[in-house]
Amino acid sequence: MLVLQLRNELWKLFGKKRTYIGSSMFFLAQTIGILLFQFGKGPYGELMRDIQHAGFDAEHFISNLTIASFLLIPIGYFLLPLYVALVGGDMVAKEAEDGTLRMILSRPISRLRLLLLKWMAGAVFSLVLVLSLGLFGAIFARAFFPSGGLFVAMPMERFFSSFDGAVAWERFAAVHLFMTVEAVTLMTLAFMFSCFNVKPAAATILAISFFFISMILHDMPYFRELREWFMVQHLYLWTHFFRTHIPWWRVGESLSILAGYNLTFLVIGCTAFQMRDIKS
């Protein structure tokens, strides 16, 4: 029964055209980035200089994985939060706006179960989105660049690293897997707002505002001591998998705090949804 109902939620989510609008923007961004690296003289030259400057063989490390990873970083930092907030904000509020929620709630399904099904569908969507992003990046970049080592420079995190062979692929996969945690958290944030009696756009805007406010406060020097408790401090835990030595304790810490955030968002959303009246 649960599987059937989850399948139904996935049909609804993946059947909508607007679900794909953001995905196509991701793929477009990746395509343009890869083409610029290939055909634009500037980016390729600069990347080559950076790799050589770090003391590595540029020929070996300018690979499909390196290019895909370089493009993934800005997408993970900026584009992914916007898009998953859009999808999460739609999940309940759009059904309420369209009137289909009233049809569903004339059925003997509890509101809590319905919300959990929707959230699970959102989590599956986030996973599929991030994995397909990685897959597309690696495959499309392979059409223009050879396979080889993985070189990553993270100026914001102040490190660079390189990986070879199977380890390069493992790290590339792990980064995507843990980027799903970021996607799920932001989807859950928008999902929480979507449970209130608001329009879908309002839910998305509220989630994005929360994200940016959190980012602004996090970056203020006066809040330095509180940084560990800000959501954005832990959202980018995937970047740890680009480090030569993975700081597992920090990964665990970030996962725990993000689990707490997710649970809080879900509880608030479920409570608000349980208490509200569903009217046409």
């Binding site: 049909w11 609804k12 059947g15 055209k17 009233r102 049809m103 004339s106 003997p108 399904i109």
Partner: protein, 299 residues
């Protein structure tokens, strides 16, 4: 089948439903009448557990909706004023999605219901290609899938053309006749209610102002159409003899409980009043409803 006990619903300072007591017996086609904003949809929302009552209790199929919603709605189907579906999916897929919220439903059962509502051949088309009438049939199909004992119809005739309304009416009668369903029909279309329902309740400004069998309305007060050469003189004469209780519109009189039409005729003829027509008039729902609303307004 449905029992509302002292039900109240406030939205902020506004009272949408006040002190509503209502019983819908099994096997009836029950009409819930009232103008827009009278509180019908809010009452239905409370029956389906979509709107939380401020006070009072709702029982559906013997279960309290607030505490045992799942069990209460297990054998309930509902259709709302504007049938809304996932337009980007097929009719079949919509039925699968909606029915699985109640229980796993076999393909055979879905096909059976599609055949029953007359959507065969179009079930795999996207809902966005459906006409309003086809959407109404799909709405009926989704309501019938859980093999309900009770069907709640909230303004089902809204937006339908005369042909569609006729079809909907016939379908409701078929549901009642062939499946023996209890039907709660909320509407402001008096003609529909009059043709379909056996019992009605009328709501006005959140309160129930009448509940009873439709037959009792027709029998409550009988009017006689009386066309004579001098209506005022005829009324004076008949009142003197205590043969009529009331008159209206310059051509209708209501007889007292003891009087008969032949007594009226004899009396008028004896006094030289020419009679052109005397016809008993059955009171219709519209007349009853309007007089009820008028009385409420003046009260």
């Amino acid at each position: 089948m449905i029992r509302l006990e002292n039900l109240w619903k406030n939205f902020g300072a506004r009272t949408a439903v006040a002190e509503l007591n209502l019983t819908v017996p099994a096997g009836e086609i029950f009409g819930l009448l009232g103008h827009n904003g009278a509180g019908k949809s809010t009452a239905i929302g409370m029956m389906l557990g979509q709107v939380w009552p401020t006070d009072g209790e709702v029982f559906v199929c013997g279960f309290n909706v607030a505490t045992h919603r799942q069990r209460a709605l297990q054998k309930v189907g509902a259709i709302f004023e504007t049938p809304v579906f996932y337009d980007y999916l097929s009719g079949w897929r919509n039925l699968e999605i909606l029915s699985h919220y109640t229980a796993p439903t076999s393909k055979g059962r879905i096909q059976e219901v599609i055949d029953w509502v007359g959507l065969t051949g179009r079930e795999q088309s996207l809902v966005r290609t459906y006409s309003h009438g086809m959407r109404a049939r799909l709405a009926l199909a989704q309501a019938l899938l859980p093999q309900p004992e009770l069907v709640i119809l909230d303004e089902p005739g809204d937006g339908l053309d005369p042909e569609g309304i006729h079809e909907m009416r016939q379908t409701i009668l078929r549901l009642h006749r062939e499946m023996g369903l209890t039907i709660l029909l909320s509407s402001h279309l008096l003609n529909e209610v009059e043709q379909l329902c056996t019992r009605i309740a009328v709501m006005n400004q959140g309160r129930k102002v009448f509940e009873g069998p439709l037959a009792s309305i027709r029998e409550a007060q009988s009017w006689v159409r009386l066309r004579v050469n001098d209506f005022a003189a005829a009324v004076r004469l008949l009142r003197q003899d205590n043969l009529i209780a009331d008159e209206r519109d310059g051509c209708f009189v209501s007889l007292t409980a003891d009087s008969k039409a032949n007594q009226v005729v004899n009396r008028l003829v004896q006094h030289g009043i020419e009679i052109y027509e005397i016809t008993p008039q059955q009171r219709d729902l519209e007349g009853f409803y309007l007089s009820l609303m008028k009385a409420e307004k003046s009260a």
